[in-house]
């Protein structure tokens, strides 16, 4: 099959040499020989970035690691070629491969705080990266300074003498970038390098990556589940599903006129700060290696699937400037992403607030985190609290539910004052305010079944219920969160991230609360799953007539779910009001910057 990304020929401008060429890469489970990744082919030219996108479990990180000649434990690279500047990485002996890694192929990990050695100064770590490839660089000191400047770090600030923990997350990621670019590699592999960063920091880091690739003619592969980030950054994009590339082409083409139903689904799940609409997520989850259905792997989740799809395995086709792996590609055509979605019905009712905060200030020890926060939550409505990490939004949530007791000011629930900590609150009150944690991977007890997890609050709050009544309530709430009774006896590690978060929601809803506090409930989830969860919360909030506090760092999500919003910056409320007004006519500088820095699905929007 042809392996050239069609984008290059299309613009007719790119004549840069091909740096990386992958042909029919196949990675298997070492024990059984079942494919984890198969038939993956693409090329990247010097100075270009290719985005590798897909849900978790799609095989994108596996491919990324293979570019360094590495396979995770239990996996084996079984076939194909990875040509870097004409040399096949897979034919190298381990010692040769080690010489290539770092010098010709560099890797930027997801979490820089875990990748940098906390006991070594930055200068030493950078020199180490250079010194392990003797001969690669003549003047190590000069290069160290140069790469730090390239990564837009101030060398005169004494950064070389600092330890990683003395740097911010953004600075740490820049150091990781500097290390990767230190030996002037041909290829750089970036594994979701901005996931843990704030939108503003994220934008700056991404700009640095793009500039560095351009100026040094480096080919880059950028792995991400965040399509909005990829959209503004890369020139070509490869969408992966179940270990195969299902659509490959220029970002402009693929994001504006997606063909494959999966790509369409992913794009429709991305929230936008410009429109308020019902998000459509995708049901189900990618099949595991060895459990893939016959025919097209996506067929069971595909709304366009016909009978043929579950029999015939689609071969990659050339269609309107891209490769696409779908049997119905020609019929589906490249429809522009429909002026999407149903707008969210907005109803603002003015009534007595169910929760009211006056001049609330909170601190950890002597360190003040929140300053004079005022907040009102109307019954049966959703208020979003928006802010970057460190803005105090999680502390605010913890004060409201009673996990954090060190605060001053007034907080009242239905006009009666709330005690500081949960120990001082009536059991009835604990029941009426429920909290959903950020990370569903840690909020469910791994030793308990779903049924035990959901029945626990019932056993505690509503002891009068008989076993039978409890079962009815559990079944009803499971149906509410779209999980069947088949889930009752599963353990959390048998569930996907989205399913776990549904269980967490069910646990909060089963006691029929009046106020639901959701703390970044989608930040640990894929975009497609995020859309489903946000929709679920919106529907449940409406059906159960709940008041809801939705905490997020993602401004784009706010519009889909909330009626009013509060923007927090360094522990202070900088803006509050109806969502429409804040997003369309922001008055505070911080809000304006926050809105500007949200990555948007505007492919090809590049600065010179």
């Amino acid at each position: 099959m042809s392996t050239t990304a069609p984008a290059a020929s299309e613009t007719g401008l790119t004549t840069a040499p091909v740096r990386l060429e992958i042909q029919n890469l196949r990675i298997e489970l070492a024990s059984s020989g079942e494919d984890v990744v198969d038939e993956v082919s693409f090329t990247v030219r010097a100075g270009e970035l290719l985005g590798l996108v897909g849900e978790s479990g799609s095989g994108k990180t596996t491919v990324a690691l293979a570019l360094l000649g590495h396979a995770r434990r239990g996996l084996a690279i079984a076939g194909g070629r990875i040509n870097l500047d004409g040399e096949d990485l897979l034919s190298l002996r381990p010692a040769q491969l080690r010489a290539v890694r770092g010098a010709k192929v560099a890797y930027v990990p997801q979490d820089p705080s875990a990748a940098l050695n906390p006991t070594l100064r930055i200068g030493l770590q950078l020199r180490e990266a250079l010194n392990c490839h003797p001969g690669a660089v003549e003047d190590v000191e000069a290069r160290t300074v140069e790469v730090l400047q390239d990564a837009r770090l101030d060398v005169n600030s004494g950064i070389l003498k600092r330890y990683p923990h003395q740097l911010s997350g953004g600075q740490q990621q820049r150091v990781a970038l500097a290390m990767a670019f230190a030996c002037r590699p041909s290829l750089i592999v970036l594994d979701e390098p901005t996931t843990g960063l704030d939108v503003s920091t994220q934008r700056h880091v991404l700009e640095t990556v793009r500039a560095l690739c351009r100026s040094y003619g480096v080919a880059a592969v950028y792995v991400s589940h965040d399509l909005a980030v990829v959209g503004g950054l890369v020139s070509d994009v490869a969408v992966m599903y179940a270990g195969r590339i299902i659509e490959l082409g220029s970002t402009q083409q693929v994001f504006n006129f997606p063909i494959h139903p999966y790509t369409r689904g992913l794009l429709e799940a991305v929230p936008s700060p410009d429109r308020s609409e019902v998000l459509t997520g995708m049901k189900g989850q990618p099949p595991r290696p060895g459990r893939r259905p016959k025919g097209c792997s996506f067929a069971p989740r595909c709304s366009y699937a016909v009978e043929r799809c579950s029999i015939e395995s689609p071969a990659p086709l050339h269609a309107t400037g891209r490769l696409v792996r779908c049997l119905r590609a020609s019929e589906l055509g490249a429809g522009a992403l429909a002026a999407r979605g149903t707008p969210v019905p907005v109803s603002l009712t003015v009534s007595e607030p169910i929760l009211q905060l006056n001049e609330l200030s909170a601190s950890y020890g002597r360190h003040a985190v929140l300053h004079d926060v005022n907040l009102q939550v109307a019954p049966e409505s959703c208020t979003a609290i928006v802010g970057e990490s460190g803005s105090g939004k999680t502390t605010l949530a913890r004060c409201i539910v009673g996990l954090h007791a060190n605060w001053r000011g007034q907080m009242s629930f239905e006009a009666s004052p709330l005690a500081r900590g949960m120990r001082g609150r009536q059991i009835e009150l604990l029941k009426r305010i429920q909290y959903i944690f950020q990370n569903p991977y840690t909020s469910l007890n791994p030793r308990k079944t779903v049924s035990q997890i959901i029945s626990q609050p019932l056993e505690h709050f509503e002891r009068q219920l008989t076993t039978r009544e409890r079962e009815v309530r559990i079944a009803r709430v499971l149906a509410d969160v779209s999980l069947g009774s088949a889930f009752l006896h599963r353990f959390p590690d048998q569930l996907s991230g989205g399913e776990r978060q549904r269980v967490a929601i069910a646990r909060a809803l089963v006691v029929e609360p009046d106020l639901l506090v959701c703390d970044e409930v989608t930040s640990a989830l894929d975009v497609s799953v995020q859309a489903v969860i946000v929709e679920l919360l919106r529907r449940l909030q409406h059906e159960h007539r709940l008041a809801m506090i939705f905490i997020t760092h993602n401004l784009a999500l706010v519009r889909s779910i909330a009626q009013t919003a509060v923007v927090l910056c360094e522990g202070r409320v900088v803006e509050a009001g109806p969502v429409e007004e804040i997003l369309e006519h922001p008055s505070d500088e911080y809000t304006i910057r926050l809105i500007k820095d949200v990555p948007k699905l505007t492919p090809g929007a590049k600065e010179p």
Partner: protein
């Protein structure tokens, strides 16, 4: 059941199979022994330190008793005492460690400083001190050995609990106002099964060594009774005439400790984290299933 699954997985590893085999062999010998011994272990049937013969397969001991009969008879009390001491130590130490970590504050301080004081004594010296004050009673030896283990168990479980009690699922239950005792029992304890199993195995090994040591020093069952630890002590003067009277009980104690330790090691290796990410879990499950098949 999680702990059963872990045990089964441990047995399936080569390390676990060897460990269980060794332990099983010695335990079987100690349990069946008293019913199959050829002579009474306290009767004088041969010449002191006589070499092995057709009548006395392992020869005679310091007083001319049959070594084989004494070996077969001398294990079960040691085993029962070691198990009882381990159980006592793990329960007391575990309860102390979990409460210290979960309740924090003053209680943590009091428990852990007590632990520090007890830890300052070598466990054998500590047990000897108690036994020499109160006298060589079997129940006291069990309590003394168990109590000597408690601090180490408390340390390990405290650090494990510190981690778990910060998890969100514990916070979720606390938010309902559930009482601390119940949180510890139903949320934290089930997540401590792996360290508990490893710690129990490890402490069992130490208990056996400590018990045998105390017996060797003469604090144990009073003399005519057979006991592996004390056999080494009473027969060592005849080591050159009939080495079997020392070597066999010593070897059995060694095999038993090596067996329990190896098996514990297998459990520790099997009991890797439970909160794996689903894709990873799927991969590992797949691999494990295939290896088993």
């Amino acid at each position: 059941m999680q702990w059963l699954a872990t045990l089964k997985a441990a047995v399936r590893t080569p390390r676990g199979a060897v460990g269980l085999g060794l332990t099983g062999f010695v335990v079987l010998l100690a349990v069946i022994g008293p019913h199959v011994e050829p002579y009474s272990p306290t009767n004088f049937v041969t010449i002191p330190f006589s070499t092995p013969s057709a009548q006395d397969l392992l020869g005679g001991d310091t007083l001319g008793r049959d070594v084989l009969s004494r070996v077969l008879d001398g294990g079960w009390v040691l085993l029962i005492m070691a198990v009882a001491a381990t159980a006592f130590g793990v329960i007391v130490g575990g309860a102390a460690g979990i409460s210290a970590a979960y309740l924090r504050g003053k209680i943590d301080g009091i428990i852990m400083r007590t632990v520090d004081v007890v830890l300052a004594f070598p466990s054998l010296v500590f047990a000897l001190m108690l036994v020499s004050i109160i006298g060589p009673k079997l129940w006291l030896i069990v309590l003394a050995v168990g109590f000597a283990h408690a601090p180490a168990v408390a340390r390990v479980l405290r650090s494990a609990t510190l981690d778990i009690s910060e998890r969100d699922y514990v916070k979720a239950v606390e938010l309902q106002g559930v009482k601390p005792a119940k949180v510890m029992r139903s949320e934290i304890l089930p997540n401590l099964i792996s360290p508990l199993m490893v710690e129990t195995g490890l402490r069992l090994t130490y208990s056996i060594v400590l018990m045998a040591g105390l017996n060797f020093l003469g604090f144990g069952q009073p003399p005519p009774a057979a006991n592996w630890g004390f056999m080494i002590q009473e027969n060592r003067i005849g080591l050159s005439s009939n080495p079997w009277a020392v070597v066999v009980p010593a070897a059995l104690i060694a095999l038993l400790t090596i067996g329990t330790n190896t098996f514990t090691d297998a459990i520790a290796r099997v009991a890797i984290g439970v909160d794996r990410r689903p894709e990873e879990a799927a991969l590992i499950d797949e691999l494990v299933a295939r290896e088993a098949a």
